[in-house]
Amino acid sequence: MQAIGKSQRRVDALDKVLGRAAYPGDLTRPDQLHMKILFAGRPHAIVKEIDTSKAAALEGVCLILTAKDVPCNEYGLQIPDQPVLCGPGSSKPYTDRVRFVGDQVAAVVAESEEIAAAACKLIEVTYEDLPPVLDPFESLQEGAFLIHPDKDSNIFQSYRLRKGDLKQGFQDADVIVEGEYHTPVQEHIFLQPEAGLAYYDEEGRVVVAAGGQWAHEEQEQIAHSLGLELDQVRVIHPAIGGAFGGREDISVQIVLGLAVLRLREKGIDRPVKIVWSREESIIGHHKRHAYHIKTRWGATRDGKLTAAEVDIVADGGAYMYTSNKVLLNAFIACTSVYDIPNIKVDARAVATNKVPGGAFRGFGGPQGTFSAESQMNKLAEELGLDPVEFRLKNVLHKGSLTSVSTSLPGIVNITDVLERCAEESFWEKRQGSWEIQEAHPEPEGFQRGVGFACGLKNIGFSAGYQENSWATVELYGSETIEEVIVRHAAAEVGQGTHTAIVQMTAEAVGVPVEKVRIISADTAETRDSGSVSASRMTFMAGNSVYGAAKAALKKWEEEERPAIATYQYLAPKTTKLDPDTGAGKPNFAYGYTAQAVELLVDPETGQIVVTRVYSTHDVGRAINPDQVRGQIEGGVVQALGYVLTEKFIQEGGYVRTDKLSTYLIPTVQDIPEVLQPVVMENPDPNGPWGALGMAEMPFISLAPAVTAALHDATGIWFDDFPLTPERVLRGLGKI
C-alpha cells in the first residue's frame, strides 16, 4: 500500500489556509444582481393574495417571483410535496399554503441586497391562518387537520415489525424495564450559511453554484421545478462550509435558477446571487427530528434478552424531506446490536407545522440507539450486571438473526469492538469478566460517573435502492503514466472525500498521489456519484475509482493514449422490508461502534463537564488515518452539543433560537480533557481495500453513554436531553 493508509495532507488544505478557497458567498460575477427571500414567518396559513406592486415600484428592483412564476411548483428529495414558492396561481393544488415559518413566499431580485430586502418588506401578503398542528401525537389522530389535504392522513411513513412471539417473550422475562424517551431537535450550524450564484453558461445552461451534498440530484430537482431538460441545468459545488446532512435538501438552488430563467425572458441576462443570514439559515433548512419512543424490554435473571416492544413517533415537520428514510434507520437502531428473539416495533413519522425534520449525521440512528442503549443500561442495573458484560451476553454474531429476521452482512465483530472500547476506557477483565476499574477521586464539589453504550449504523442507501456510483479515470503519458485525472462528483463538504478519492485512485493506478488530480463538483464534468450521506462515499467512491482504474490500466496496456475508462460500481443488492413483519435485508454494510464516557456533575449547579470520551470504531481500513480521527473528534464534539447544550426551541410553530447566542454549540472550551479515537481495521469483504464508512459512527451512541454516566454519578436516569443545568437540577429534585 503506497498511497492509502497514510495521513496524506488534504488536497484543499493550501487553498483553505490561504483564504483562497471560494465558498458560494465568495463567488461574484460582474453585473450580478442580488436576491432576497420573503419567508412565510407563520406556521400554517393559506396565502390568499400577494400584492407586489409597491415592491416592484421600488427603484432597483428587477424581478419579483411568486408561485405563479414557477413552471412546476413542487420539489422534494423523496417526494415533491413542497411548493418552491407558496401562493395562489400555480397549477398544482394546495401550493397556496404555507406549512412552516420557513416556507418561501416570494423572491425579489434587485440591484443590491439592501434594495431586495427593502422590497420584500413592501410585498403585501394576505394570509388566512389555519390552526397549526404542533403535536405529533395530535397529528396522528383520526380527524386531525390535514397538513397536506391531498393525502389521507398526516403520516408520512410507517413501519411495522413482528418477530417471534412477543407475549411469550415477556412471559419468559424475569425483569421488565419500561422507558419513555424524547430526543430533541438539532440544528446543523454548519459554519457557512446557505448561499449561491446562478447564471447562464456559454452553452445556454442554467448554472447554479451552491453548496450541496449530491450535485446530480440537485440538478434533477432544479430541472423538474423549472420545467427544463436535465442537460439544460448545470450544478457546480464551490467549496462547501460544512453540511452534516443539512445540505441534503434544496435551499436556494431552485429559486436562483428560476430567477435567471425569468430574467432572461425579460431580456435581462445577468447573474443572480443570494446569501442567507444565519437567522435565515436556521429557519430555512431542516433539522434533526425530535423522536418520541416508548419501549419495554424483558430479560431473564441470568441476563438474556427475551423481548422488546418499541413504539416510535417522529416529528417530521411540514414536509417529507427524508423522514421516511430517517425513520427506517431509527426502526433498525431501536433494538441496537442485540439478538432478541421476540420483537414488536411500530414506527411512524408524522407531519406537523414545524421546521421539517431531515438528514443530520446519524440519520435516525442516534434517536433509536438512545432508547435501546438506555434500556440496556437500565436492565443491567436491574439485573445487577456490569453493563459491558450484559451487552456481551446479547450481542449479534455472524449468522444471528437481527430484528429484521436476516443476518448481518460482512464481518460481524461487535464483541471485539465492545471489548476494545471497554479495555481502552474504564473497564478491566477480572477472572474472565468485565468490571469497572477503581475510580479516580473526584474534585471537590463534583460527582463522577462513567457510562457505556454502543450501536450500529448502515453504510450506503438502504432497502432495495440499487446503490451505485460512477467514476472516470484518465491516464496520460507515453512510456509511463505521467498524470492521472479522476472524475468523481462526490461533494467535498469538509469530510475530506476528495483527498480520500485521490489516495484511492493513486493506489489503484499504482502512482504516487502527487500525480493524481481530481475533477469534481460539476455535473457537466462528472457523472452521478450519489450523495455524501449515509457514511457511504469512501465505500462507494473507492469501489468506483478502483473499477475505473482497472479498466483504464487495461486500455493503457493495449497502448491506448490517453487511456480513459468510466465505470459504475453497483453495491450488493438489498431488499425492501416486508410491510407486515419488517423482514428483509435492508443493508449491505454496517459500521459498529462503542463509546465510553466519564463526566463530572456539580449537583448544586447542575453543570456537567464531560472529562473523557473513548470512541471506538471498526472502520474496515483507514484510507487516511488522520482524517478518520478528525471525523471521530468532530463527531463526538457535535454529539456532545446534542446531548448537553443544544436546545432548539419552537413555540407555537415559531423558532425562538435563530441565533448562535441562543442556540449554543460547543466552543473550544467545551471539549473533553481526553477524547480518544480508537480505530480498528478489520477489512470488509466488499469495501475498497476493506474500507467501511465511518463519519456518522461517532454520533450513534454518545447520548446514551452520557446519560449512563450521569446516572452513575447521581443515581438518576435522564430520558430526555439536552442536559442543561436546569434539566439536571430538575431531575435531581433540586428545583
Binding site: 483553505k16 489556509v17 490561504l18 459554519l191 463538504v493 475530506g496 464534539v637 447566542s661 472550551q669 471539549i671
Partner: protein, 158 residues
Amino acid sequence: MAHHMISLLVNGQKEKLLVPSNLTLLHVLRDMLGLTGTKNGCEAGECGACTVLLDGEPVNSCMVLAPELDGREVITVEGLAKDGQLTPLQEAFAELSAVQCGYCTPGMLMSATALLRRKPHPTQQDVQEALVGNLCRCTGYQRIIDAVMVASRTGGAE
C-alpha cells in the same frame, strides 16, 4: 446615508475608500476590496469567522464600522503568507488536519496569530481562551489547539 472618506492599510496596502457610515469592516473587505478570505458566519459577533487583526488586535470585523477605520491597519488571512510562503501556523493547520470544511479557518488563524504574537509560547489553556470566540462545527477543536501549539514551537505567527 452619510458617507465617509477613510484611509487605511490593508495587508500592507494603502486604501482610500468612500464608505457609507453603516458599512462594516467585513463588507469593506469582502465587497469593496474583494478580500473574501474573511468569512461571514453570523454578522452578529457570535461566530468568529470574520476575525481580522485591527492594529494587531483580533476583532470580529462584522462588529466594526467602516468610519472607525480611518488611519488604522488591518490584516486579513490573505496577508499572512509572504510570497507564497505559509506561516508556521498555516503550515501546522494544513499538516495536522486542523482544517475540515475550512470556513472557520481564516478566523481561527487570525485569532491564533494574535495570540502567538502576544505570547509566543502559550499553554493549551491560553489557546483555548484565545479561540473561545471562534466556532468550529467540524473538527472538535483538538487539532486546532494542537496546530497552534506546534506552531508555537516551529516559529510562531510569522
